[in-house]
């Protein structure tokens, strides 16, 4: 008797469970497989790094895990919900309620102030704007940018903009936080401060936090490091393998 190559997701402790996740892209006439049957369990309460070279498939994997890119094959459960079994509208609503995003380029709306930017997920959930803003201001104070609430993104430094983006990702208290290359544009000191901050505010018992990075200056801050190479997980541990 052979073992099932894609065992059912663990129902007890996995915040995210992927089984047999494959993703193909068309490049002209060619079909390129970027992910090759990824099986993975991400636990809550941990700061998980997804590490890999450019083109290794980490952005594709994280996009699939947070419900914004359909896998060609396979199954993804986020906190027990098979997200790709949901209808389009249900999936969008699921993201809105359960996932916080921190984008590499922040993607703040340039014409609204920092507090309103941070309040966007709450406003999208239908909360009255002023109430949402109050909640966002409280979150910004937690992130030590309470004095920047009325400033437009263009009036903030890169680090401050990133904190606004973090506030936006956390303001609606999501159960999964996804963070794309948060230290890519920062020097070593700033990068570590951002990671420390994320560890303080984003990691919680009931929340999973995944960070995509290839910044080896902050690898020591992870609870778990997953290395992705050519669309396959080649390492899963608390430290980076020595050959990297």
């Amino acid at each position: 008797m052979t073992a099932d190559p894609h065992p059912a997701p663990s129902q007890n402790d996995a915040a995210i469970a992927t089984r047999g996740v494959t993703r193909d892209f068309k490049a002209g006439q060619r079909n390129i497989t970027v992910l090759h049957g990824i099986d993975l369990d991400i636990r809550a309460g941990e700061l998980t790094y997804l590490v890999g070279e450019s083109g290794s498939g980490k952005t594709t994997l994280i996009s699939i895990m947070c419900g914004i890119l359909w896998p060609t094959e396979g199954k993804v459960e986020v906190f027990g919900t098979d997200i790709y079994a949901l209808s389009d509208t249900e999936l969008v609503e699921f993201r809105l309620q359960n996932i916080g995003f921190i984008f590499q380029q922040y993607n703040l709306i340039p014409s609204i102030d920092a507090a309103s930017n941070a309040a966007v997920p709450l406003i999208a959930q239908g909360m009255p704007r002023l109430e949402a803003r109050e909640r966002a201001i409280a979150m910004m104070e937690k992130l030590n940018i309470g004095d920047q609430i009325d400033k437009l993104p263009s009036q903030l430094s890169g680090g401050q903009q990133q904190r606004v983006a973090i506030a936006r990702a956390l303001v609606h208290e999501p159960r999964l936080v996804v963070c794309d290359e948060p230290t890519a544009a920062l020097d070593a000191g700033s990068g570590r401060r951002v990671m420390d901050l994320l560890r303080q505010v984003a990691v919680a018992e009931d929340r999973a936090c995944i960070i995509v990075t290839h910044d080896n200056r902050v690898f020591d801050l992870a609870d778990r490091i997953l290395v992705l190479e050519d669309g396959e997980i080649t390492h899963d541990g608390t430290e980076m393998p020595e050959d990297h």
Binding site: T59, E93, F101, F103, I123
Partner: protein
């Protein structure tokens, strides 16, 4: 989310003003050109509008408008008067003549002969003097457009002597009249005097103007007149419409104005479409982020619609205000005398603006909806 959409739009001032300008310019062009078109073709009916007391115009059966007419024998007047239901009937003469002014200029004019006794055929209001002046020998009344054309620098025409078809005429009053389609100078005088001023064929009477007895509908009266006299009879409204239709059918005006209105529409689509596309392109990352966060396509559609709606509202308002200012600003110019904005014109422009925004908004929205949320990670 609508608040965010509006702030996204107004935050990019350059594009916001570009969009508003595009809509305003388009609205102005469409509204202003349609207004001028409508008013201009209505000038084809000015001869009828200037005689409000006539219920029915009777003419030779080949006559088509006040200016395109074939004279009738004077017996036609008696025939019309004999028709039951006719309260009154008076002769009316309209003909062309040449005038040599005191400073030697030559001007082509229209001479209108009104009924000697009742003066029916004169415009309702006088700008200067009274209608009684026609009792004075050789007197004529000039229309106010003629005043500005023949007498420059605000010179008063009253008392001015003219050589009208080789005969003496003295201007003793100014009528407040709707200008004709060609804005030709018009001189009003008594019918009997007009016959002398405008020599011609044996038959000289252009029209018979008739009033309907109480309780007789003008439409019924025209039918009765036609049946009993063999002449052509038109109600006031019918004959006014004949004048308008004649302009539409015999000039290139509808085509020319139609082209300008179409250009206004195309310019609107081009400016607004281009600017809207640029605006969306510049914000596509933000829209992508919103979609990733969990903003539904329905809400995104609402955001783009509210942006288009705001631009449309402001641009349309400015365009219509611009047209009103244009009409008001030129109201003292004889060419634009009496111009007004028919209520249908702003509605047509509104529909055009709505079409522009629907089309350009749809194009812009397509880009947003096509944007994959996953693009924000690239």
């Amino acid at each position: 989310m609508l608040w965010i959409a509006i702030r996204m739009l107004t935050g990019d001032k350059q594009k916001f003003y570009g969009l508003v300008f595009g809509i305003a310019f388009s609205t102005l062009l469409i509204t202003q050109q349609l207004t001028i078109f409508v008013n201009l073709i209505e000038r084809g009916a000015s001869g009828v509008y200037n005689v409000p007391s006539a219920d029915v115009w009777v003419m030779d059966e080949v006559s088509r408008t006040t200016d395109v007419n074939f004279p009738m024998p004077s017996t036609a007047l008696d025939k019309v008067r004999a028709v039951p239901g006719v309260e009154w009937a008076v002769p009316h003469l309209r003909a062309g003549a040449s005038v040599r002014t005191s400073n030697g200029d030559l001007e082509g004019v229209s001479v209108i002969g009104v009924d000697d006794a009742t003066l029916i055929g004169l415009p309702r209001r006088m700008a200067q003097g009274s209608t009684d002046v026609l009792s004075t020998p050789d007197s004529v009344i000039i229309d106010d457009v003629g005043t500005t054309r023949m007498f420059e620098n605000g010179q008063s025409p009253i008392g001015e002597r003219l050589e009208l078809n080789d005969q003496r005429a003295v201007i003793r009053g100014v009528a407040d009249a709707v200008p004709s389609f060609t804005s030709q100078v018009t001189l009003y005088t008594k019918y009997s005097r007009a016959l002398n001023y405008v020599p011609g064929t044996r038959n000289r009477m252009s029209f018979v103007l008739a009033g309907a007895s109480d309780g007789i509908a003008p439409e019924a009266l025209t039918q009765a007149i036609e049946e009993q006299t063999g002449l052509r009879a038109r109600t006031r409204d019918q004959f006014a419409q004949d004048g308008v239709d004649f302009i539409i059918q015999n000039t290139g005006i509808p085509l020319n104005f139609g082209i300008t209105v179409l250009l206004g529409f195309i310019v609107g689509v081009a400016i607004v479409g281009l600017t809207f596309s640029l605006f969306i392109r510049d914000n596509v990352k933000q829209f992508g982020a919103l979609k990733a966060i969990g903003v539904t396509n329905r809400k995104i559609r609402g955001m783009v619609a509210s942006q288009a709606g705001l631009v449309g509202l402001i641009g349309y308002g400015l365009g219509v205000i611009g047209t009103v200012l244009f009409i008001w600003g030129f109201s003292s110019n004889p060419t634009f005398k009496g111009f007004y904005i028919p209520w249908q014109v702003p509605l047509i422009s509104l529909a055009a603006v709505a079409l522009i925004l629907l089309f350009t908004g749809w194009l812009a929205l397509r880009n947003v909806l096509k944007t994959e949320p996953a693009a924000v990670f690239r």
